[in-house]
């Protein structure tokens, strides 16, 4: 008998875990509630730090999914413990008995309109990082009109108790630096500013990206949080911040302002969490059994976690986490369902 594993969420985490579990010999069923696989990766154009096309990365993930049964446009209707397994009813009427469940429901992008003082959805030339990725993919956005002065606002909806999030979203500093360079390449005459509080270029090659942004693209980094934005009659924007390096208030008019909206716990993920009775931590992301030694296990036996569902992660982080989850699930299933790996059968096929 091959054990059934249910994966909830078809983003990078769900895809990578699915491919690995299938390879390990399990019956994998992946349930995605939207109409496509890929999660947020499907929305991005090029990836930091090296500029890998997001579509190439996604194709690679999808290309390893042979044998994994995927249901898109499908929700989890109910999920209940039944003996050692979970009885799961899907919105398409199918019922599955899953021996292990991986929750890979990812994150939601912070809704930038909530940070009203930045004027997203109110002023004509304020967009988000996600909007800019879509523009890079399609070349279409009426708000981007040959801008000559562009500002990037870091930490929008992150590190901000006013918007209910104390923590750092981890990916948006690198995204801002990447997008600033891309905009300079697209509009070579533009003057580009990044308003940051701390610049978190933690990963391999990230500092190089920062150095290139300064030296080769002439991006100006201003240390100070944008505190106020207003729209002028001609549609340009007046932006106020403090240059904390020179301890002076600062004003600049811009043609385009890009908000680095942060990562938030996924609302539809939370629904799965409450179906399962799973705990959240204060930051709203799922609680893990141990943040050091058991990052991919929840406190409920048989329920595993991977990717941005347990906090902001980059794609390589997410994929590594998903592979870790696959290994953890394999270990759990061989311990709890020892017959699943029939030694005789194994020797017969492998020797």
């Amino acid at each position: 008998m091959r054990n059934n594993v249910l994966i909830i969420g078809g983003g990078p985490a769900g895809l990578e875990a699915g491919a690995n579990l299938q390879r390990l010999g399990y019956n994998v069923l992946l349930v995605e509630h939207s109409n496509t696989l890929g999660g947020h990766l499907g929305k991005w154009d090029r990836l930091f730090p090296g500029g890998t096309p997001a579509s190439a990365a996604l194709d690679k993930l999808l290309g390893s999914m042979d044998g994994v049964k995927c249901f898109t446009d499908t929700e989890i209707q109910s999920i209940n413990r039944l003996g050692k397994s979970y009885n799961v009813i899907l919105s398409n009427g199918i019922t599955v008995l899953a021996d292990a469940v991986l929750v890979a429901t990812g994150f939601d992008l912070f809704q930038a309109e909530k940070k009203e003082e930045y004027g997203y959805g109110i002023y004509d030339h304020v967009i988000t990082n996600a909007d800019l990725e879509l523009y890079f993919k399609t070349g279409l956005d009426t708000r981007i009109n040959a801008p000559r002065k562009i500002g990037f606002v870091h930490c929008v909806g992150s590190r901000d108790e006013k918007s209910g999030c104390r923590s750092c979203s981890k990916v948006c500093c690198a995204t801002a630096v990447k997008q600033a360079c891309e905009m300079k390449a697209a509009f070579p005459d533009a003057q580009i500013y990044c308003f940051y509080m701390d610049l978190r270029m933690f990963g391999r090659h990230y500092e190089d990206m920062y150095l290139e942004a300064q030296r080769d693209y002439g991006i100006r980094f201003i240390r100070g949080r944008v505190a106020e934005v207003s729209e002028n009659i001609d549609g340009s924007l007046s932006v106020k911040a403090e240059d904390t390096v020179s301890s002076k208030p600062l004003k600049v008019s811009l043609d385009l302002l890009v908000l680095m909206a942060g990562m938030r716990p996924s609302v539809s993920g939370q629904r799965i969490g409450s179906l399962l009775g799973m705990q959240n931590e204060k930051d709203g992301y799922f609680e893990v059994l141990s943040e050091i030694t058991a990052q991919q296990r929840s406190s409920i036996p048989g329920i595993f976690l991977a990717g941005a569902a347990t906090g902001p992660k980059t794609i390589p982080d997410t994929l590594a986490d998903a592979r870790g989850a696959a290994t953890q699930i394999d270990k759990y299933l061989s311990d709890i369902f020892p017959k699943a790996k029939d030694l005789k059968q194994l020797i017969k096929t492998a020797w």
């Binding site: 003057q191 150095l211 030296r215 002439g218 240390r223 390096v245 020179s246 002076k248 004003k251």
Partner: protein, 110 residues
Amino acid sequence: MVDFGYGLLASSRINLDLFDKGKFDSLAAEEPDVRKCIACGSCTAVCTAGKFTPTSLRAAIEELQNGRDEVAMNMLKGCQLCGKCTMVCPRGINTRHLILSIAKIYSKKK
């Protein structure tokens, strides 16, 4: 008008719209490393002149980018060109050479 002895103080706010991009670009053309500064303050910390005069390369670079050229020049006036700052800059900027280039480009009258 009667002079009551009051006056408005000039605004100390930085107005980036007044930033002379062309001038800074010509500095950067000669001295590309000027863009690499991360405002760490190492140069200012070791500066031999800084203890006695308001000398700070870190602050001067910031002021130049804020369009406050005169303030910047004042912050380099006391420089002895001793080159100590070059030894400590984590971005590997030839700071001494940079100071000379700033002086060359920004002391030219427009």
